[in-house]
Subunit: 764 residues, 2 copies
């Protein structure tokens, strides 16, 4: 009875599975309150313009309109990401800086009236010259998006370790390449939505689709000029985020401002069209990278120059830029590295974090260039990776400390997959169909320390019939963390997953938490849950020890039974013990609390930083096989294998779902997805024209995890899914390279690009 | 800076004052959910009948009707009060036992359709002989309301201390009297209302107007046959309870059952008419009491025989009966006491707890009889009370242990009031207007232990800007406890009341609590809040000690500042300290938890019990002056003085509100309020005809509290308001006795009764 887990590592259905599959789960847009008004946001039609005057009189007179607010109704607060001064008002002040910038918001009795009112707001603009290309933006004579930023440089990172110039001189092989990545979108299914209700006691209740509700909690207080204890943020279900719902937006602020003005609850739900043209994107980048190797394939030096198109506001871009640069040091040994990054303001939609956060862009360049080098040097892409792979207990030159690490094993497993696939490959077929196999590798953070507050908290209440309620400050934006955290609580307390109820964030009561980013929830909040569960367990063990006449240290909890170690017959049921603990003598409600943050992490200086930002790192190898149709130029991913070190998985089924999501997402990023703009205007603001992959674009995904156990992770777990997002794109690009001999350095790789490249190649 | 409280003992407005006064506060009937259905309950038209058949086909076919449920749709669970087997199904099984008994419930798209559907339900009844008089009910040949209870006795209490028969023989004066009290009602303004929503994950969320939500939590699980962790009880504001909302009712159960059946949220709001004829009442009683005294006024013995009309079901009647009997021992020294009580089933609406819970009935008899004895013996009513008054550190023969006690002082103060009033009295006036002054005294419990679980819990979260969230499992049904508890938290943490936000019960997360009864919340939950606040304070003191370079024990918290004892200048602001504690180093969310229950209390055997049920007792003296118009028979209360020992008040203003409520309530109970029934049918189910007092019936109330400090109570507090409800009625009856020389032994005292008695008297 004492061996093996009851909940951990099992293929258990998600706790929110049924409720989401049946449509019962309530998202922000599903919420409704008596007397509720509907809001809409007026957006800038110009990429860059001065606001001369806003006349909302006609709009206010429209029957059914209850209020109109503009930047003039605010206290002028400007949001800004980490380590940055604020530059982004929630409703425009003086200037608009991109097409879609929020200018005014209307509350009316229904959405149609609010829409109609938008058209009646008369805004007098003075158009300004716009800059939409990041390279042009850096010219001395370019128009300035923000007056405080010369050459439109919103952030600059300059990392340098070892002696790069000297190292290059010693290399046997050096190459330089130019890479470009497009504007891509998070692609969450649930659009931004917010419901705000200001009661007459002066308290604001807010429901919104937020990955990090405590960011909204703080910024709402600052933007409204009220104290935090007057704000209650309640978290409904979240329909995907991927980094695009970390920040507070105009939709959130406007709902609160309009509710304060009208004294009624106000709900604003933006359209997917608005999401696609007026909200966040992944940073488009232009990467020049130079790599030097010894002839045996040892990587000696990397020198990179990165321009990241930040769009109109800083957002969290300082961190994005730092990650782009610093992750050139992972997952391969790299003694000498230099990376200069420039995040540039343009008059386009702002860039922010997105699954992988900055790392996918630079690793796409590095991994593809590595295959090009291997190809020219006559080395096997797997062998060159194996040779340079970081292992346990190594420290990168920028200070990342590797602890548990199954990277080498993942490459070895990847080699086996490739051998097997090459054997499998159909001998005959359409001569226009070229097959190729490519590889990409990654190392990724597991709950990085990015600012002051990194600690997670958990509160557990054990009900008198043995049921367990669990609260944390973390959110499940779809990644399955509510399930993983519930499994951890269940295992520690010796109950079953179905005994645990996860309660979503309510800032009045749940512990403060930074939120969902950087693959932190299972690892950091999971540990807080473990500590909280142990706290309750210890309280119960004291009572059990009395009842069972044993030492508290000898009490075991498993599968709803509590017994003396070594004597499973000397036990009682968990519900019975809870009842005794709650009702006998000085019995009391069983409440456990736990806090946890990794020790010794550094808040890294993002401009020049060196230091360990993550308590552990995940690793993995991604293998993809493609078919390229040389007649149509179309590339199709046939199969994938993901071989990753996520520590010990908490829930294999949920973990696989995360990996499959990254796999299919990566297909889109490599082959189809791209926001196309003309003079700052988004030309394809719909999923159909943006070309998100659908189920028909999916392929078979084999998943293998190397068996590591992380000493710090809860039950040995690290992260899964986000890290491997990094290596999917280069693995597909490298597979196309393998298929047709052309290394593409710009994504997405469209059929036209393939046909053009084939023509160029055959023309040579 | 170190002396005096910032929050405690101040006249602070209630935390829910504005929101309630403006109508913003949401009560259960105000809640609404998308897709919500409306429910109605079909009630028995017979006082006693067998259900032969229920045909709901026509009702179900009515357009807009979504479901009909009856007892056959239940698992047959029967609710019952403390120490009792269940006897009360939430929807009738086999029999109906009073006019108003719930028989079926309907859910429809609106209330009108649900009402219409009720009329289409065809119930075939077989009428049974009914018994509506409790004395007749005890006859051997009376029809049985419940087959398990011979002579319809639902509960019997037989208390005996000392040697009563011997004591009577030694008395100089003995008298026997017969008293009767009427059916009166709690008179809360908000009717019973419930909203239940069953989600597809199998979890029930429930919002209802419940004083003790955890009673509903447990009974809901039992009645539906599901585990507790599948039930979430959320507490909206409560519009008064007074004991009438402690239990779970048909309205609560039916909303849940209909929601399960329809898959939609279902709300049921009953009418005030239904509240008055189909829900709970205070036990009507018939009390024969014999008291013996020495000629100096020393009370030697009491022998009482009490018949309490329990109505159709047991409810919490066993406890009511025990309290009626045992409180003959308080507030006067009584060496010999016997009380035999019978709680009798009749085919009328069930009786339960109501403000004072059982004590007002027997104390009415005892206090009025004491004045009659004093009158005949030529003793002053105040002197006889002073002579027999219990004091600190005495123990009553039934085991009540008195600790802090300002009873004697309250009588002395009462004497002063009477002297002053007699001087004030206008010399001339209408000869038909007779003035009189009467007194009544009381002792009352402060959080009695009535069953296993008596512990309260509190959780405090300190926000990063110094705001404080407080959660307990207790409810504020109007008594102001949310304010008192917030004041306690604020004072311990050294912040201000407006910094504290009180979060109402949510069974998923708040600590389990017995609820609001027996004047327990300020005393018991208040102590839990104190402990929780001290827990957070200690965490903060550790951080402050480091910051201020001092010993944690020397850190003081006051008025939003934290400083070193003796050196107020060595300090920082509370918000600053919280920020340091949360963000620096291993900083974490500040969560405090506290549990508290009085030590050494006994769960008393309600049939024969002896033992201390309350950690302390409140005391007081009530003086009332009346004018009786001998021409119209109408009595009017002119002024009142309440002199009470509530320990140290937490909030004088809130305390006075509680006392004024008891004062005006007592006027109604004495002079006007009465449910009039004919053959079991309520003839006056409206507040107008039931004659609740209005503002025009109110009088001036002087309030004086004796300065005791209870060592166990939070900041020295005990209870206020409920205890003095006990003495208001006899003080008015005694004042009428003083005015016209007639001691009335039946309440309410109607003008007709007065005229009849005056005629009888003058006829003698």
């Amino acid at each position: 009875m004492e061996d093996g887990y009851v909940n951990i590592g099992k293929r258990l259905p998600r706790v929110d599975g049924i409720i989401k599959a049946t449509g019962e789960a309530k998202y922000a847009a599903d919420l409704s309150m008596p007397g509720m008004l509907h809001g809409k946001i007026l957006r800038s039609p110009y990429p860059h313009a001065r606001i001369i005057n806003i006349d909302a009189d006609k709009a206010k007179r429209l029957p059914g309109v209850r209020a109109v607010v503009t930047g003039n109704d605010t206290i002028g607060f400007k949001a800004g990401g980490i380590s940055a001064r604020g530059d982004e008002p929630y409703l425009a002040l003086e200037k608009v800086r991109f097409i879609g910038d929020g200018v005014a918001a209307v509350a009316a009795i229904d959405e149609e009236t609010a829409e109609e009112a938008l058209e009646l707001i008369e805004v007098e603009y003075q158009e300004l010259p716009a800059v939409v290309d990041p390279v042009a933006a850096m010219n001395e004579d370019s128009p300035l998006v923000h007056e405080h930023a010369p050459r439109n440089i919103s952030y600059k990172t300059d990392l340098s370790y070892g002696d790069v110039d000297k190292a290059f001189k010693k290399c046997d092989y050096v190459r330089e390449d130019h890479f470009e990545t497009a504007s891509i979108r998070h692609g969450f299914i649930e659009p931004h939505a917010a419901l705000a209700s200001w009661d007459l006691s002066g308290k604001l209740s807010f429901w919104g689709s937020k990955q990090s509700p405590y960011f909204t909690y703080r910024n709402m207080a600052k933007a409204l000029g009220i104290t935090l204890s007057r704000i209650r943020i309640v978290q409904p279900f979240i329909g995907g985020g991927f980094g695009g719902k970390n920040e507070m937006f105009d939709v959130d602020f406007s709902s609160a401002l309009l509710s304060r003005k009208t004294g009624k609850p106000v709900r604003i739900v933006v359209s997917q069209e608005e999401v696609l043209f007026a909200y966040r994107q992944r940073h488009p980048t232009i990467i020049d990278i130079k790599t030097g190797l010894k002839k045996d394939g040892t990587i000696m030096a990397v020198d990179a120059h990165i321009i990241a198109d930040g769009g109109a506001y800083l957002s969290i871009g300082a961190m994005s830029l730092y990650l782009m640069c610093s992750f050139l040091c992972l997952p391969y040994r790299l003694p000498n590295m230099r990376a200069r990054g420039y995040r540039v303001y343009t008059n386009t939609q702002p860039s922010c974090a997105m699954r992988g956060h900055g790392v996918p862009q630079s690793r796409f360049a590095a991994e593809v260039q590595l295959d090009m080098a291997a190809g020219e040097m006559g080395l096997d892409p797997m062998e060159i990776r194996l040779k340079n792979a970081l292992g346990p207990h190594e420290t990168t030159p920028n200070g990342f400390v590797i602890t548990s690490c199954g990277f080498e094993e993942s490459i070895i497993e990847g080699k086996k997959v490739i051998e097997k696939w090459r054997k499998d490959r159909p001998k005959d077929g359409d001569p226009n169909i070229k097959r190729g196999i490519g590889v990409g590798c990654y190392g990724f953070v597991v709950g990085p320390r990015v600012a002051g507050h990194n600690t997670a908290g958990a509160v557990i209440k054990v009900h008198e019939d043995g049921g367990v309620s669990l609260m944390t400050g973390s959110t499940d934006s779809g990644q399955g963390s509510d399930t993983a955290l519930s499994q951890i609580a269940a295992e520690v307390l010796g109950v079953r997953l179905e005994d645990v109820r996860y309660g979503m964030v309510d800032s009045d009561i749940t512990p403060v938490d930074p939120g969902t980013y950087g693959s932190r929830v299972t690892f950091i909040t999971g540990n807080a849950v473990r500590v909280a569960a142990e706290d309750v367990k210890n309280q119960l063990a004291e009572v059990a020890a009395k009842t069972l006449e044993a030492n508290p240290r000898d009490i075991r909890f498993k599968d709803r039974r509590v017994y003396v170690a070594g004597s499973p017959e000397r036990g009682i049921s968990f519900p019975r013990l809870v009842k005794i603990a709650q009702y006998s003598g000085a019995g009391k409600t069983l409440l456990g609390r736990g806090y946890w943050a990794p020790e010794g992490l550094k808040v890294v200086n993002l401009e020049t930083g060196r230091g360990n930002m993550s308590a552990t790192y995940s690793f993995g190898t991604q293998v993809s096989e493609v078919e390229v149709n040389t007649e149509t130029g179309r590339s199709k991913v046939i199969r994938m294998a993901m071989l990753h070190d996520c520590g010990t998985p908490i829930n294999e089924m949920a973990m696989e779902g995360q990996l499959e999501g990254s796999a299919i997402g990566g297909i889109g990023h490599t082959l189809t997805e791209e926001i196309i703009r003309k003079d700052g205007r988004t030309m394809n603001p719909s999923f159909l024209e943006y070309r998100m992959p659908t189920a028909l674009d999916a392929c078979n995904v084999e998943i293998l995890h190397t068996d590591t156990y992380d000493d710090v992770g809860p039950f040995g777990a690290k992260e899964s899914g986000e890290g491997i997002q990094v290596s999917v794109v280069p693995s597909i690009v490298n597979a196309i390279y393998d298929a047709v001999g052309i290394p593409f350095k710009k994504i997405p790789i469209t059929p036209l690009m393939v046909l053009d490249a084939l023509k160029d190649k055959s023309g040579k």
